[in-house]
């Protein structure tokens, strides 16, 4: 249960306060949209006793397009991202998360760093191998996401995801964004697919197939082997699924695999233009 709420004005304040509370034996957490902290906290599935609300930190609220990069702060809501619409692939992926009102509260950082296994907002950042800016009490570091991401964004204790830099050239590349649900327009997805064609090659990233979002370079190499037919490539690519396929009330693993293979075919047809 949250017993202390703090709204820092700077990143330094936020990270120092986090470190101080850790030393004092508490369980602090950066608090962004807070939807997961509130809902899981209510069920005693998350132990956070100090909430450090980073929503008003200017660096986390940035959204700007300069000559080379699109810069997006982690505290931008999914609605902010969709309305700014700098990056149509990100807009299309974000617009399918939860529902319209919830997206006013769910943030980019919260979605990417959360516990829920879908975390769809990370997919466009994986495809574009974006640069992530992370800060803790000691330093601010930057890393390419593909060098960092291992099923989750592995933040050090007290580390804060501040911003992401996306190379401008990716913003206008052809893309595919598909979310498949069991039924209806809202509700949890079966699989979300994001794909992009850049430099004559197709990149793909998925969420909802395994218990974590992923982009597999091996899978992409197979999908880009144009000596094979689209259906051959789609079937062969399934060998590179990087974990167990989810098997739950939303869909059996067999059904998810069927959907996944179909999605790969759709992506190839759409991005290869035949």
């Amino acid at each position: 249960m949250i017993n202390e709420y703090f709204r820092p004005q700077t990143i330094e304040q936020a990270t120092s306060f986090f470190a101080q509370k850790m030393e004092e034996g508490y369980h602090p957490s950066y608090y962004n949209g807070g939807t997961e902290i509130i809902t899981l906290g209510r069920l005693d599935q998350l132990n956070v006793d100090v909430a450090i609300d980073i929503k008003s930190l200017p660096s986390c609220r940035v959204h700007l397009l300069d000559e080379d990069y699109l810069v997006l702060g982690s505290a931008l809501s999914l609605t902010d991202l969709a309305e700014a619409n700098y990056f149509p692939l990100l807009t299309d992926i974000s617009k399918e998360v939860a529902d319209k009102t919830a997206r006013n509260k769910i943030t980019l950082g919260g979605n990417i760093c959360g516990n829920i296994f879908y975390r769809e907002a990370v997919l466009p950042f994986l495809l574009t191998n974006s640069i992530f800016v992370l800060a803790d009490k000691e330093e601010i570091r930057t890393n390419y996401l593909m060098d960092l991401f291992q099923e989750t964004l592995p933040l050090k204790e007290g580390e804060l995801f501040v911003q992401a830099f996306i190379e401008k050239k990716f913003l206008t590349e052809p893309y595919v964004a598909i979310k498949v649900r069991q039924q209806w327009k809202t509700g949890y997805p079966l699989i979300t697919a994001a794909a992009m064609k850049t430099n004559h090659e197709i990149r793909v990233a998925f969420s909802g197939l395994c218990s974590f979002p992923f982009r597999s370079i091996q899978m992409e190499n197979m999908l880009n082997d144009t000596s094979l037919s689209i259906s051959e490539r789609s079937r062969a690519a399934t060998k590179y699924i990087p974990g167990d396929i989810l098997n739950d009330v939303e869909g059996s693993s067999e059904y998810r695999l069927f959907i996944f293979t179909n999605l790969l075919e759709k992506i190839l047809i759409q991005l290869e233009g035949n």
Binding site: M1, I2, N3, E4, Y5, R7, G25, Y26, H27, G33, G34, T35, I38, T39, G41, R42, D49, A51, D53, K55, T79, A98, D99, K100, T101, A102, N104, K105, K185, T186
Partner: protein, 160 residues
């Protein structure tokens, strides 16, 4: 870790046009605070999970699910609850179109629709559907709710 004294948070907020001050524990949701501290019981507790939308209020022009927000977060913000929309065109359209049965979800729907009408001029049927997906009516009055929205748009073309 056990806290010996609660770290209460003082929050100043404008609700339905009036400045209010509340002192809340940091873990208290806005929904709980509206109902228990300010006695604004029109916002309804439903799922407590952000799914049903019965607790929707308007904060700085955006609809928000008040069960997914801490009271401590709304410092300095402007909030409209269903009590602030007394006898509004949307409410009247709900009555005239029988857009409810049990009525429990109705405040949340009205708040969401009001927020949509405030921000989108002459919304299309697809836009209306997209916004309404944020709220659940277990009596399934969806058709009538959409009719009510359309009636407000038709009746007040210069406003909405």
């Amino acid at each position: 870790m056990i806290y010996e004294t609660p770290n209460l948070v003082q929050v100043t907020v404008k609700i339905n046009g009036e400045i209010q001050q509340i002192i809340v524990p940091p873990s208290k949701t806005l929904l709980a605070s509206l109902r228990e501290d300010l006695f604004l019981t029109g916002s309804k507790p439903g799922c407590f999970n952000g799914d049903c939308g019965a607790c929707t209020v308007i904060i700085d022009e955006l609809p928000m699910k008040s069960c997914l927000m801490l009271a401590a977060e709304v410092e300095g913000k402007e909030i409209t609850t269903i009590e602030g929309l007394s006898d509004s065109p949307v409410q009247r359209a709900f009555i005239e179109n029988f857009a409810f049965q049990c009525g429990y979800c109705t405040p949340g729907f009205i708040m969401n629709i009001q927020a949509m009408l405030n921000s989108v001029k002459n919304p299309s049927p697809d836009t209306i559907k997209e916004w309404l997906e944020s709220n659940i009516c277990r009596c399934t009055s969806y058709e009538e709710i959409e009719q009510a929205v359309q009636e407000v748009i038709d009746k007040y073309p210069s406003k909405y």
